[in-house]
Amino acid sequence: MSEYVISASTLGVISLILVLGLNVTWGWSGQLNLSYYAFVALGAYLTGVFNLPPHGQDVTYILGLNLPFLASISLAVASCAILGAALGAILTRRLEGYYLAIGSVSAALIFYTVVDQSPSLFNGPVGIYGVGEPLNSYLKLNFTDYSALYLGMCIAILSLVFLVTFLLQRSPFGRALRTTREDPISSAVFGHAVYALRIKAFILSSAIAGLGGGLLLFYVTAFNPSGWSTAEVILLFAAILVGGSGNNLGVLIGGALILSIFPQALLQIPGMESHATLAAPIGDIIDGAAIMVTIWLRPNGLLPERKVLAPERGVQQSRVSSFLRLKADS
């Protein structure tokens, strides 16, 4: 495998983790949470400041604990989960629908401005950089082997996240969450704590965002405010919509299509590589158009969420028995 393929695949795999996380708030609980990418950024920054040594002369940031890879990424995930709980508790208390969208995007923009304007936090507009290769101080691999190892690690984490979300979606928690999406009032009538469920969705989603952000940081070894904006979260939404909101497998397919295959295919068009300034806007236009076409033609995506009838066995039995009864009547 060439280095380019490994590099592109690593980025693709990390974006799939991000897509799975966003699917928790958007796909399962139906909340338009536009602050998602702020948590990706937060995860990246926090992983960085936990992992980096105390700051020197030309760069400033908080903490600098010099913790090992696993400890720093776990701490970052935990912090993202806690802050996700706080933001979710504030926002979902009274907001839903487009008010939640506007509120969450404002929260994200506040965070963005604060990070961009205060160099003492995460080194302002320049951002943090010089993050080492995790584990490689023990392994001492060369660059190519190390990249392959990191790709493998990301794939393993993606599989784990997929397994967790897959199981959670079929769990009572996942079902309850989807009832709050379809009709929060009936859901509350049936005894679900809608507010608590929505906060839990925020927590899970923010934790996955933080995990993806941490992996992203170790992949690019630097992170600054130009790397994240409202546009990024819209691309993730594009991936989810094209794949099929709520369906974990569907969003993986959509994520691969929108975030990896389309952009890479675009670069293969002859002459495109020499016009790097054209490639980015054209790619974004294609993604935006993909959102529009999907909602026009197939609002449920390529692989729509399956309607779960629970409990399955009971339903089938009753179908059989009602069929028999019909037979008997006629």
């Binding site: 629908g97 008010y99 506007i102 509120g103 404002s106 604060v114 980015a280 974004d284 935006g288 909602i295």
Partner: protein, 294 residues
């Protein structure tokens, strides 16, 4: 004290631009159940249209403003006819419609980037003289912008209050079904409202670009949530509230810019927005809704 009044001057100009834009957003939202996330990009298109016309018309400001407004009308008509109307008819969920509008916004921004480049462009309108107005220090252009906003707002008020069209808009905003039942063509009024507010949106984009002195493809989108702040502080869907909200948000942003780092002023605007959403989502103007109030 001097800096305070300087801030008030800037605040009035920002409020003037904001209020045109926020009133347009509120008008749209009062007749359609979707906040228009492409609003900022309609402003940007208006700004670019104004820029192109200014370049080719020897800086004729009236022509520039008109073309910005007409570009806004075209954009708003496309957004309404292609997305809002058909998809609402098909009962697509509002959430999906919002994401679709965000996608459309990305398409417009990047198309503008392909045409005009990602960098700022600026028209070469000569700078204008300073005037002392009471304690405030304003340029001729800033005074012009404030007067334009007042004229526009008075005009909107007059239309809403005293014309058949305005009554029809208010009726449709209250209830499209009841409006239809009393013989109003609700679909046509909704479309007409979009066209009118498209003109105001494009115009406000042109004025914003003139005030800042430069246009780039993300001009309007960057401003969008400040406009939402104004519209929501005033009570979304209420044109009069939007005017007051614009004044509050504009003054808070620009006056504070002299006391805190100027880039943090948007933080205040978004803070206001979140507070308004959480504690006073109905807006700052108390609503007296009775059957007889006009």
């Amino acid at each position: 004290m001097h800096t305070f009044f300087l801030g008030v001057g800037f605040g009035l100009v920002t409020a003037a631009i904001l209020s045109i834009s926020a009133v347009a957003l509120s008008l749209q939202f009062s007749v359609s159940p979707v906040p228009n996330f492409t609003h900022g990009d309609i402003m940007t298109v208006g700004a670019y249209a104004g820029y192109v016309v200014l370049l080719h018309s020897n800086n004729n400001l009236i022509l520039g403003a008109l073309s910005a407004g007409i570009a806004g009308v075209i954009m708003a008509a496309i957004v309404y006819r292609v997305f809002i109307e058909p998809l609402l008819k098909r009962r697509v969920r509002i959430h999906f419609l919002l994401v679709l509008l965000l996608g459309a916004s990305i398409v417009v921004q990047n198309a503008l980037q392909l045409i005009f480049g990602a960098e700022d462009v600026s028209s070469n309108v000569p700078t204008s003289a300073n005037h002392k107005v009471g304690p405030l220090l304003l340029t001729t252009r800033q005074i012009g912008i404030i007067i334009l906003a007042v004229v526009v707002l008075v005009f909107v008020h007059a239309v809403l209050r005293y014309t058949r069209f305005g009554r029809a808009i208010r009726a449709v905003a209250d209830s499209p079904e009841l409006a239809s039942a009393s013989g109003i063509n609700a679909a046509r009024i909704t479309y007409a409202t979009w066209v009118v507010s498209g003109f105001l949106t494009g115009l406000s984009g042109g004025v914003l670009a003139l005030s800042i002195g430069a246009v780039d493809p993300t001009l309007g989108f960057g401003f969008l949530f400040v406009i939402f702040a104004a519209a929501i502080v005033g009570g979304i869907g209420q044109p009069y509230g939007a005017m007051l909200g614009a004044l509050i948000v504009g003054l808070v942003m620009e006056v504070s810019a002299f006391y805190i780092p100027s880039d943090d002023k948007t933080v205040l605007a978004f803070g206001l927005l979140i507070l308004a959403l959480l504690f006073r989502p109905q807006g700052i103007i108390p609503q007296h809704r009775t059957a007889l109030s006009i």
